[in-house]
Symmetry: D3
Subunit: 238 residues, 6 copies
């Protein structure tokens, strides 16, 4: 039995609070149950060196956890003078996925920087970050268009992400920390509004997984993402 | 005329939200106007090397700003592999001041770590952090005592902090960012509940300040701190 | 048409040179076409702090590229004082996958360190590294058992890895650099000898991929891995 | 009773040795008792990025301690790959204060770098550094004017600094290390030739300090600074 | 008695494998007995800042050891975020010596970067690296001339290097690791084809060495280098 | 003609000021002409990890230059978070040479740390540092013996160092900066009181040097070192 009597293919309560801070071009607090992440999108009027003069723009992401976002305190990366391997991996994933949601050619020598900072963690931070960041991205693009930074809307369409996993032999959706810690298989899915895949990352933490298990995980995951995309559209329509 | 018709010796609206996150022993969101800081207090069952075996405890602080807490985006310190000089200076100040609020001898080989992370900045982040961290400290101590970590309450008494400054020749209390940017003199005061000084840091940013100006700054600052300490007590009594 | 008239589901020429260097407990030069990687397995008589006194062992991996392994020279990470995000991601993947091939409980407070250094790169370095490292691991375990470091063989069974991708709409196996650079989708598969999944990492570099494409990629990938595992067994039997 | 029968409001012996090294535009060895600091002022024909093209100049400071300047050896910061928080705080203070002694608009796209290196420490290094650096600054400006680097003298007027503190209840001036180690309150004052404040930094190390104690500290401190400024003028007149 | 019945003034077997990797402008695997080093020469179309616009070129070197090139595993420098002092010293030596083999004025605003990576170590890595790098340099220059990067051959003439030492009182040539570990004196010689010195580095590891011993070391070393230069010419002529 | 009418084989004026600072166990200011270096020897009651429990001691050295020791200002290594390759090379040399002057077995689990900091540079800093450090070492050992840290005098005998070089075809002793900058060959010699070699480091900066030139350099160098050792003995006898 899952916490709060959740069904195996049921999402935790998902909320998006837009305009959560006042300075960023797009700012969303996303919550998946107790996981709470602040996604701030900033537009900077320059591009990395490798894109200079090509007329395109860029999108990149940075991820962080406040030291006490977790059950025990983690050491502050700035004080360690180093980002952990896990952090680097996650921020590369977030950036890569969100680049699939924009047409970089329409970003007009601008860079959108997506800062995803975990205020409170309870599993699934990377997928919640991607899902929330999409809304911050849309809001930032609106701000940018209102200021004349972009002449044409660069958004291609929605993307969202969810974790799935195998716990005690059962495929479950949207794992919280307690479930994640015991899962035999852990998988993150990122998909678009047409049900196509942007990214699949599946890892056998304990036991290898079979083709049949993979099929089941993809099924509940893609259904979960469809629900998240509906929730995103609802949040953006208000 | 100040924003929102504030008087020269008037605080911005101050709020404390206790138990803001769920994992930390003490967790307070403090707001001074638009300045918004998350103060998390963690208790760790060990002390730094220089205190080992002495029966005492320790308190230290770390300070950070989310990259888009500010008007323009600041680079993430973890990604820079370096904390800025300003960051180091502020976290040393926060730690030093909060150590004045506890009897380290009663902390029983524990370390309290105070993480002050700025979610949104509008001037006065270091003084708001100290003022909010005091409440997080009290809550953490309560948690620690309930768990039998401390046998005697180590809290000595309240401390609070405020900024004062000279703007266009006038001494003003609790400067917002716009005021701070043009102030001729910038001063941070930290005091205890008896009206005694813990720390004074005054800097002539533009013009040197006279003994008379110093006297006026100390007067409005100590009155402001008295009000903050009353607000702390009120927050803690609920 | 692929280079050397390769079929879409055909591997490049794969060779394993065992005992390539003389000091390591296991040392294999693995070649997938022009991709050439030295996999050295070292056994150290200690475990990381988090495993001390638990009777288990550990396996970890480090990955590097010689600066001129690539078409243009890449900057040396040691001279940059920093491992790139890509490096960290790859070495985490290699370590995670090879841990699925050993029973850590039988490693008896030893750590196996897998160094995978790319002498020459032409696409697919991470999957070639995993496939070659498995043989170096087996050789290191043999050495360790001969020296009485392990009382029972900790190897669970073979694992191998291969890249698959979608190039100009076609699913292809074992991409070289030229193919990788234009692939719409890039996927790395790691599987065991029973055809079960250890890891799936699929990324839509250009176009999202459909469920049908995913199915085709998994089909040619799992067939390729079965061939690699046969080649591993052959190399180990000589 | 203080060492050498010093009165509570008496300075240690203060000496300035101008032209101590031969390469710097200004070079002063300053001694406050056994505290001995080499202050070298360098003029560089460029400004930091944030000032480029604005016609102004800049002044910045760096501070260091030779490893065996202190009673026990401190680790070398260059070998630690990191400046300590204390170092950063002090050099920011020195730079800020000396900028109050020059009109940056007259520095004509030049940067003056003030290197303050402690050869021997016995308390009060930051205030001695500021006091000595002022003379090095004046000498560097003379050199610069002789070479036609500045068309108008940018010096506004003298500044000097001193430490004051409360030791066993008594306010004392210019604390040596032994006094500093036991002081209840430690304060650094920086003032100009008109008796105005540039910087006040007061910290209750042990006991909070009262308004009356603050008044006494400011009184003996400002008298001490007046004497230091007289000594500076004397040194510069020879 | 030396390993393999070597005479005191006899080289180990020396081989040069040209074109060892496919991307570098010059690529040589050099072997001195079991010491095996990959020397890759890259030509980059730019020069360091201090040479910009002067019409000259530059040559620099980087040195590394794979972690398990040695008997016990050494920690990876990239993972340590730091090159060891020994590494820095060796790569400075290699660069300095190879600059003596080229006329920088003929390098036409290009930089040749020499990467020397030790695949397997058994003493004498720095001298083997220099000797092998010379061949890689010649090959890179040929490539560069064929591509029209240089209008005139910048090679001045051959250089080679060898280690000599005093072991148990006897002067020996080309020490392997076991000899190096017990040598009282360790010396590296770098000379050109005319028998002139480029570099001498002699260190008394245990016992100081006399003028007579020095004379003997120089004698066997210069004879060894003459043989190495002959072997280089032979390798280059095929 | 050399500055100050020096002969080719003549030293600059050499002075040793013992007890230059008050905290170090041995403290010497050494001057070779305008080159001025502070050598502080510290005794620490512990040894590096690789020597723990072996009953021996250790000696190590660190070298630094104040930023404005040189004609133009050099960037501060502590602020660069990195010691330059040249620094590392020099401090390794100093440590290695001074270890030849002590019997480590008599250092009784103590470490002597030699800090050599250049206050003013005019060529030959590494050789002056070694020569001065020997006196600081002797003084530190005396202090240590007086405190009962060593039961037997660990000093083996004097060592000293000097630079020699070829300038415009002539072999010269003790080069100043102007000579060093134009020298075709630059060589550092370290020898003991018996005229034996501790270290030879010779580099052809411009032109290779012949065996005859080497002989001449060794001749004037060893004579110079004999004079330095006499000066050391004189300084130590007062």
């Amino acid at each position: 039995m899952r916490a709060n009597n959740r069904q195996a293919d049921e999402l935790r309560e998902v909320t998006f609070t837009r305009h959560y801070t006042c300075h960023a071009e797009g700012s969303v607090l996303v919550e998946f149950g107790r996981t709470r992440i602040l996604c701030n999108a900033s537009i900077e009027p320059k591009v990395p060196a490798f894109l200079k003069g090509k007329g395109k723009g860029w999108l990149t992401a940075e991820y962080g956890m406040l030291p006490r976002a977790t059950h025990g305190r983690m050491r502050r990366e700035a004080a360690q003078s180093k980002q952990a391997g896990r952090t680097v991996e996650i921020q590369r994933l977030i950036g890569r996925c969100l680049r699939a949601a924009v047409d970089l050619k329409l970003l007009a020598e601008k860079t959108i920087i997506m800062d995803c900072d975990v205020l409170q963690a309870d599993g699934g931070t990377r997928t919640a970050a991607i899902t929330g960041a999409y809304i911050a991205l849309v809001d930032a693009v609106k701000t940018g268009m209102a200021k004349g930074m972009f002449t044409q809307d660069p958004i291609i369409g929605p993307i969202a992400a969810i974790s799935v996993g195998v716990c005690e032999g059962t495929a479950v959706l949207d794992l919280d920390y307690a479930e994640d810690a015991i899962a035999e298989t852990d998988m993150n899915l990122v998909m678009n509004g047409k049900g196509e895949y942007i990214e699949i990352q599946g890892t056998a933490e304990g036991q290898p997984f079979s083709a049949a298990q993979l099929e089941r995980l993809l099924a509940i995951g893609s259904a979960g993402i469809a629900r998240l995309i509906a929730l995103q559209q609802e949040a953006l329509s208000t």
